[in-house]
């Protein structure tokens, strides 16, 4: 183990350069985010991920944000275990009828000020599952959404671009 750790000290980091924040995400956010919220939250945001019915593809790419290449924590984002600790809800899936209450309760358990980011094509409008009896169809049908990040699933760079836009809005 010492050898591995030592090698890591000598090797150059794998981490990719930060992408510019997504212009479309900035435009969507500019209209929504309150100046005072921005001041109070600063540049450190706690994220609570909520799977509201995804196929788990989005979860895989959200996980990848924590790997050494994307290293989300360098920007001040970190994933937390409870909505009580969260500033941002990162919601995936077409919101199944069976998860609707779980999502609503999680939202209510998150203290203000808070942002909701809907991830993936399903989170936008239900994606391939739109129209099913078992899906509500899009996160915004259940709770207010501040930012959508499209993709099936969005890759880590697209996720980073969207999340960085959250930090840029001032």
């Amino acid at each position: 183990m010492r050898k591995l750790l030592f090698q890591n000290l000598l090797r150059l980091p794998l981490t990719v350069a930060a992408p510019p924040p997504s212009a479309t995400a900035l435009a969507e956010l500019a209209a929504k985010v309150d100046q005072s919220a921005r001041r109070r939250l600063g540049r450190s945001l706690a994220i609570r991920e909520v799977d509201a019915g995804s196929c788990n593809g989005c979860e895989l790419e959200i996980h990848a944000l924590n790997n050494p290449f994307y290293d989300l924590e360098r920007f001040g984002f970190h994933f937390v275990a409870s909505p009580r600790h969260a500033d941002v809800l990162l919601v995936t899936g077409p919101v199944t009828a069976n998860m609707r209450e779980g999502l609503e309760r999680t939202y209510r358990a998150t203290p203000d000020p808070k942002w909701v980011v809907a991830v993936g094509d399903c989170g936008r409008d239900g994606g391939v599952f739109a129209g099913s009896y078992a899906c509500v169809g899009g996160v915004s049908a259940v709770i207010p959404v501040d930012l959508h990040i499209s993709g099936c699933p969005p890759n880590p760079m697209q996720l980073l671009e969207g999340l960085l836009a959250l930090l840029q809005v001032a």
Partner: protein
């Protein structure tokens, strides 16, 4: 049933259904049904699937020789003799049939709803689909009795970046006395959505039943369509499909090995394994244009041929694995504090694994050698050399080791694939016969055997499609694995199983 009767003989007694490929489907009489249940209960064959249509239930089975068959029992009065009564692995499948179709299993040991939480706007969506939610009493968990027991409810929203489901622990101090799962939270109504779709649309949807197994699902769906329509695809397509399947296995096993160790608070493994996983995803994107390889496999072949820069990228990936993976295996093997957490934790009795027909890593870590690539088998694996690893300790440690061996094996398989990759076209048009036809397929995903059964309409659209995730026969064993372990070891056990919620809930 006479001793030693064969599945094919029992099925042959019924009326065969025409145009069902590649394995036979039989209309069963009540007597044949009972004989099949007896064989299931006696361990003569293994349950592969149980699903329904408005007035019929289908039972898919495989015997020890790898012979597959489907028996269909008409149930005009909406009832059928319970499979779960004789064979517990069928119970949740029967509860789902009751929820989705309204067909009742006679004398079923458990009649609580499973997928239906009383929140859909319809009752029996796959059956008569009456237009109002089902009025359901609050869900009752199984009783536990004894002194000093307490319950810990967990979920559906979990603490990590994982899918939702509810776990009800009953514990005595630290030790888990009983775990009961409640799933269905991510039920998306996929089977209902599939009916009426074109083959192309359906392939896209089936590829999203469980995102981490998108290659396995797309492959199973494509193979079922090709079986139904008797379409022969180019040889190169088979090999490219196998390349995708092994890349998917590699990526997921790396992720799992790291994540299991991380749940034992050994974050170093996660960091290094997630690095390897990321490399696989990037090479996948280079080869086929999508990091998770979604929509790469289509009925008729594969969507796109390899990009020109693909083969050098795959070779570089293999050599990177050969450099970086063995030190990680040594690290796992030589870290006593980590082994202390994984060895003997989460033991599942091999008899249960056999009874449940539990496939994938969990099966092969517990003495069940089943691998759909070998049996029933499909190209190009018949031309590739590999022996699925088999361990018998059936604990978290064994499940890690099977994954380690399968990573090594996938690397070797990818090398063989690059070596033997035939030239030529990569897809063909699906044959349209203008007749109703049925097909099924069983393929080995990273999690275990994925089954897809389907019927196509005369116009080529999907009449009915049933995808069955390996998790159906793995989730119940997690309840057994955690018994008498401490609550704090649940994440470790759960991660070593890594069952799919989405694939199960459909």
């Amino acid at each position: 049933m006479s001793v030693g009767a064969k599945l094919s003989e029992v099925l042959a007694a019924g009326q065969p259904v025409a145009d069902h490929h590649p394995w036979p489907r039989t209309l069963a009489t009540a007597e044949i049904w009972q004989e099949l249940l007896q064989g299931l209960a006696g361990g003569a064959w293994t349950l592969l699937g149980l699903w329904g249509e408005p007035s019929m239930v289908h039972l898919a089975l495989i015997d020890a020789d790898g012979v597959l068959g489907v028996a269909s029992l008409p149930c005009p009065d909406g009832r059928f003799p319970s499979v779960g009564r004789r064979h517990p692995p069928a119970q949740r499948l029967e509860r789902s049939i009751a929820d989705l179709l309204g067909l009742q299993a006679i004398d079923a040991p458990d009649v609580r709803p499973w997928l239906d939480h009383g929140r859909w706007p319809v009752t029996h969506p796959l059956g008569t689909a009456s237009g109002s939610p089902r009025a359901l009493a609050p869900y009752t968990f199984l009783p536990t009795e004894g002194e000093s027991l307490h319950q810990i409810p967990v979920g559906p929203v979990h603490a990590g970046i994982i899918e939702p489901g509810h776990f009800r622990f009953t514990a005595n101090g630290e030790a888990v006395v009983r775990l009961e799962e409640r799933l269905g939270y991510v039920h998306k109504g996929i089977e209902t959505l599939l009916s009426g779709l074109s083959i192309e649309q359906a392939a896209r949807l089936v590829g999203r039943v469980s995102g981490d197994s998108t290659v396995a699902y797309a492959l199973a769906f494509a193979r079922a369509v090709e079986a139904a329509t008797v379409t022969v695809i180019p040889e190169r397509a088979h090999w490219l499909r196998a390349l995708m399947a092994e890349l998917e296995r590699l990526a997921n096993h790396c992720g799992d090995i790291g994540a299991i160790c991380n749940d034992a608070a050994f974050a170093l493994m996660l960091a290094h394994c997630s690095l390897l996983r990321e490399r696989v995803l990037r090479v996948s994107a280079t080869c086929f244009g999508h990091r998770l390889l979604m929509d790469g496999i289509v009925p008729g072949g594969v969507k796109l041929d390899l990009a020109p820069e693909a083969i050098p990228a795959v070779r570089e990936l293999i050599s990177e694995f050969r450099r970086r993976f063995p030190p990680l295996v040594d690290l796992y093997d030589n870290t006593a504090s980590l082994q202390n957490r994984t060895v003997s934790t989460g033991f599942v009795r091999p008899t249960l694994i056999k009874q449940f027909g539990c496939g994938g890593v969990i099966g092969r870590a517990g003495g069940r050698a089943f691998d759909a690539r070998r049996q029933p088998g499909y190209p190009p694996y018949d031309q590739l050399e590999f022996v699925p690893p088999l361990l018998t300790d059936s604990d978290v440690n064994a499940r890690i080791w099977v994954r380690i061996h399968e990573v090594e094996q996938s690397l070797a398989l990818i090398e063989q694939i690059l070596q033997g990759l035939p030239t030529g076209a990569v897809n063909v048009e699906i044959q349209r016969s203008g007749e109703i036809c049925e097909g099924m397929a069983l393929v080995e995903g990273f999690r275990g055997d994925v089954m897809v059964w389907l019927r196509l309409n005369a116009d080529g659209t999907v009449a009915r499609c049933h995808p069955r995730d390996p998790s159906w026969f793995q989730w119940p064993l997690l309840e057994a694995a955690i018994e008498n372990n401490i609550v704090a070891d649940f994440p470790l056990c759960n991660k070593s199983f890594n069952c799919s919620y989405s694939g199960h809930d459909l």
